[in-house]
């Protein structure tokens, strides 16, 4: 088993989520590889404290659902045209402008 593999999966191992046979191999690797066992030790120092510190029991403010739904309603009213059709319209407009710029405008300029 390579050091790279062990270190990539070290948190999975420390959380007992490795398949038993692989966990056994990692365990025996850690017993002799100082480099990997140092990494494991460093991760283990912060793993549970970080997990504990990140747990929160705060609740969203009471009007959250209504605020979200109001935003969605406003958004749907503000954008009635489906985006595909709008882009198609812009594309056609761009082609017309380009056509005018290349063929029509030079002719007009020459006439005057």
């Amino acid at each position: 088993m390579r050091c790279g593999y062990v270190q990539r999966h070290i948190v999975v191992f420390l959380e007992n989520q490795m398949p038993p046979d692989v966990a056994e191999k990692i365990k025996s690797h850690l017993s002799w590889c100082k480099h990997c066992s140092d990494v494991a030790k460093q991760v283990e120092e912060v793993r549970q404290p970080v997990k504990d510190s990140m747990g929160v029991d705060i609740e969203p403010p009471p009007g959250m659902v209504q605020s979200v739904m109001a935003r969605i309603e406003n958004m749907d009213q503000a954008a009635p045209a489906p985006p595909d059709r709008r882009y198609a319209f812009i594309a056609v407009l761009a082609i017309i402008v380009l056509f005018l710029a290349i063929f029509v405008v030079p002719k007009i300029l020459k006439l005057y």
């Binding site: 948190v11 989520q17 991760v43 990140m54 979200v68 309603e73």
Partner: protein
């Protein structure tokens, strides 16, 4: 009456049923808010970010594959939205009226844990403080792993990356926290 599944509600919402979407918001608002709180670092931004996340979930619903679970997809949209918001905030960092982590009730450590694994409130505050400076992609992985208590398989699914990548991000995030704590003169080990 049996509760309608997330996937069923999502597919109804996809065809424009706002009531179905409202049920999804109702059901998941606490989780999304807690993720946003950990990603944003204060309650004010967390409120705005939660709204933003649900708006993105609504607008991106057509990309949801109804044959798959709704939850990992929702967590992915939520945490990606938080990453984008974190990045855009780096420029304009508003510190007004934000509630620091210290004032929030933090969940008590599980009783089953051995004594040496429990963390003091001061350490918790220090860790929470340092977390706001961990790079967004690593903070995203740490948040889903720690706040949502996902397994690495679930985490990989929510992040849309292989399991080894998800595990690496958590490890690198933890090492960043460790390094930053050391710089501040804290020792995490009890």
């Amino acid at each position: 009456m049996t509760e309608e599944s997330d996937e069923r509600l999502a597919s109804r919402a996809m065809s424009g049923d706002r009531g179905a979407f409202e049920s999804l918001v109702m059901r998941h608002r606490v989780r999304v808010f807690r993720i946003c709180y950990r990603m944003a670092g204060n309650t004010n931004d967390a409120e705005d970010w939660t709204q933003e996340c649900f708006v993105r979930i609504w607008t991106q619903l057509k990309a949801f594959d109804t044959s798959r679970s709704f939850e990992p997809w929702m967590l992915r949209v939520t945490s990606n939205t938080c990453i984008n918001l974190s990045k855009s905030r780096l420029g304009v960092r508003s510190k007004m009226a934000s509630t620091p982590f210290e004032e929030i009730n933090i969940a008590a450590p599980k009783l089953a844990e051995p004594f040496e694994q429990t963390v003091s409130n001061q350490q918790k505050a220090a860790i929470a403080d340092v977390l706001t400076t961990v790079s967004p992609v690593l903070r995203q992985a740490l948040t889903l792993w720690a706040v949502e208590q996902l397994t690495f398989k679930e985490l990989a699914d929510a992040l849309g990356v292989p399991l080894s990548t998800a595990a690496q991000r958590v490890r690198r995030g933890l090492m960043q926290v460790r390094g930053k704590l050391a710089n501040k003169g804290y020792e995490v080990r009890s």
